[in-house]
């Protein structure tokens, strides 16, 4: 996990790329790719499209949901890029249900907290950890279960990736990121777990424009940046309430 084969020189200079295609250079068939977002919330929409344009296949996708409503990562399912999905929740994602039932895509369902902790461990140089989540369920099958301080725990392994594709609201040219609301979710953790992290920036700023105390993800976890000001940001479930009638109305 020391990434000994990665270059030392220049890895943290010239991160800003002038196109999505340039940002995705080197993302090839057979790789493990993490993609940020909780369902369709916080997706790196242009990078997701860009991977389809690269024509790669046999990817292992690590993401909480693998898209929904035919949007987001469901477009990868439809384009046939994916061999295996590691996720926590399929829900109403018919594109994934149908391919899983047909046996064309392998699906590994992991508890959500375990999924993100496996990423965190990979990014923090921890090869495995013990968690109470999954004890006594199918999740513990084939894994070490150990009693510590009178309670049972399952050993889970770190989950690294070749690439992480994430999105942030504000990004400076070194890659320091600020996220927006619940669009943050898995993205900063995926950034730590991947050998190469690509950020789709809603807003690209000069170095110094983000106060150091306001940085959510330090730029050392970011290797490439592409500015994409426009996003679709589809709703999955648009819920609302009626505004109360004005007093006396």
């Amino acid at each position: 996990m020391r990434n000994a084969d990665l270059p030392f020189v220049g890895r943290h200079h010239h991160k800003v790329k002038d196109s999505v295609a340039a940002a995705l250079d080197g993302l090839d068939s057979g790789m493990t790719v993490m993609v940020g977002g909780f369902g369709l919330c916080g997706n790196a929409e242009a990078l997701i499209r860009g991977v389809i344009d690269r024509g790669v296949k046999d990817l292992t996708l690590v993401s909480n949901n693998a898209g929904n409503l035919g949007k987001g990562l469901a477009t990868w399912l439809r384009a046939g890029l994916i061999r295996k999905v590691i996720c926590s929740y399929l829900g109403t994602n018919e594109d994934l249900h149908s391919r899983m039932a047909a046996g064309t895509i392998e699906v590994e369902v992991t508890p959500q907290g375990t999924l993100v902790e496996r990423m965190r461990a990979a990014g923090a140089g921890i090869p495995a950890f013990y968690t109470p989540t999954g004890v006594g369920t199918v999740v513990e099958d084939g894994k070490e279960v150990r009693e510590l301080d009178g309670r049972l725990y399952v050993m889970e392994r770190a989950l690294p990736a070749d690439y992480a594709l994430i999105r942030a609201r504000k990004v400076d040219r070194f890659g320091n990121c600020r996220f927006y609301r619940t669009a943050r979710n898995f993205s900063p953790i995926m950034a730590t777990a991947a050998r190469t992290t690509i950020v789709e920036a809603d807003e690209l700023l000069d170095v110094g424009a983000i106060d150091p105390d306001d940085v959510h993800l330090p730029g050392l976890y970011v290797h490439r940046i592409v500015a994409v000001p426009e996003h679709e940001d589809p709703f999955e479930y648009k819920t609302s309430r009626k505004r109360p009638a004005a007093e006396g109305a």
């Binding site: 909780f38 907290g113 369920t137 619940t182 609302s240």
Partner: protein
């Protein structure tokens, strides 16, 4: 006979301590928020939100501010957003006081099954296993039996388990019950009757429960 869905949600909301941190599961548990006095408790949503508010007013929906059910929500003053690792560290680390979750089956030992139906479509685990194991108190809010009268409060779960011995209390349309390991007459678990819903008779509850009722 028994509680309506709204009355079930109101009864479950009465279990939420003042000044506590609460995670409400998808579906019926979400309704509990409607019966909390303003400022009573702080709602946690595992996708990275503490201090969750009600649904936004029409026209103010933000696709990047959602709950774990991917519905648009709001954030209250004093609320915060964070990444998924921190959110689940809150859960697993015992910092969330109470989870109110939906359930398919609960055993008299407190085992919970709420993520998959045998032979059915696998919807996924999501945050269910972490919440069930990590939250300090777990309440299952559920129908007492299936429409066909098949038991859902059982001696042992036949559905895939979410977690073992985690459910502290079950609230159904028939009343409030606590699973207690070893409390049954045969040495197995039993459901302690805490209260029966208005008009519900104990013999009827016993018929619809797949494990002994105990006092």
């Amino acid at each position: 006979m028994g509680y309506s869905k709204e009355q079930m949600a109101r009864r479950a909301a009465a279990e939420i301590p003042e000044g506590s941190i609460v995670n409400l599961g998808i579906g019926l548990p979400t309704l509990c928020a409607d019966y909390l006095p303003e400022g009573h408790a702080f709602l946690h949503s595992e996708n990275g939100l503490l201090g969750m508010g009600p649904f936004p007013y029409e026209g103010e929906e933000d696709p990047q501010l959602i709950n774990a059910g991917k519905q648009t929500v709001t954030v209250l003053p004093g609320g915060s957003t964070f990444d998924s690792a921190m959110s689940f560290a809150m859960i697993r680390g015992g910092h969330v006081d109470l989870a109110i979750l939906g359930a398919m089956q609960v055993s008299a030992d407190g085992d919970l099954a709420n993520w998959a139906v045998p032979g059915g479509k696998v919807m996924g685990i999501g945050g269910a296993m972490d919440l069930a194991n990590g939250c300090r108190r777990v309440i299952a809010l559920m129908q007492h039996a299936t429409k066909d009268g098949e038991h859902k409060l059982v001696r042992a779960c036949s559905y895939p388990l979410t977690a073992r011995r985690v459910v502290d209390r079950v609230i159904t349309e028939l009343g409030v019950f606590d699973p207690v390991a070893g409390a049954g007459p045969d040495g197995g678990g039993g459901f302690r009757v805490i209260e029966l819903a208005p008009g519900v008779d104990r013999a009827e509850v016993a018929r619809l429960t797949g494990a002994p009722l105990v006092d």
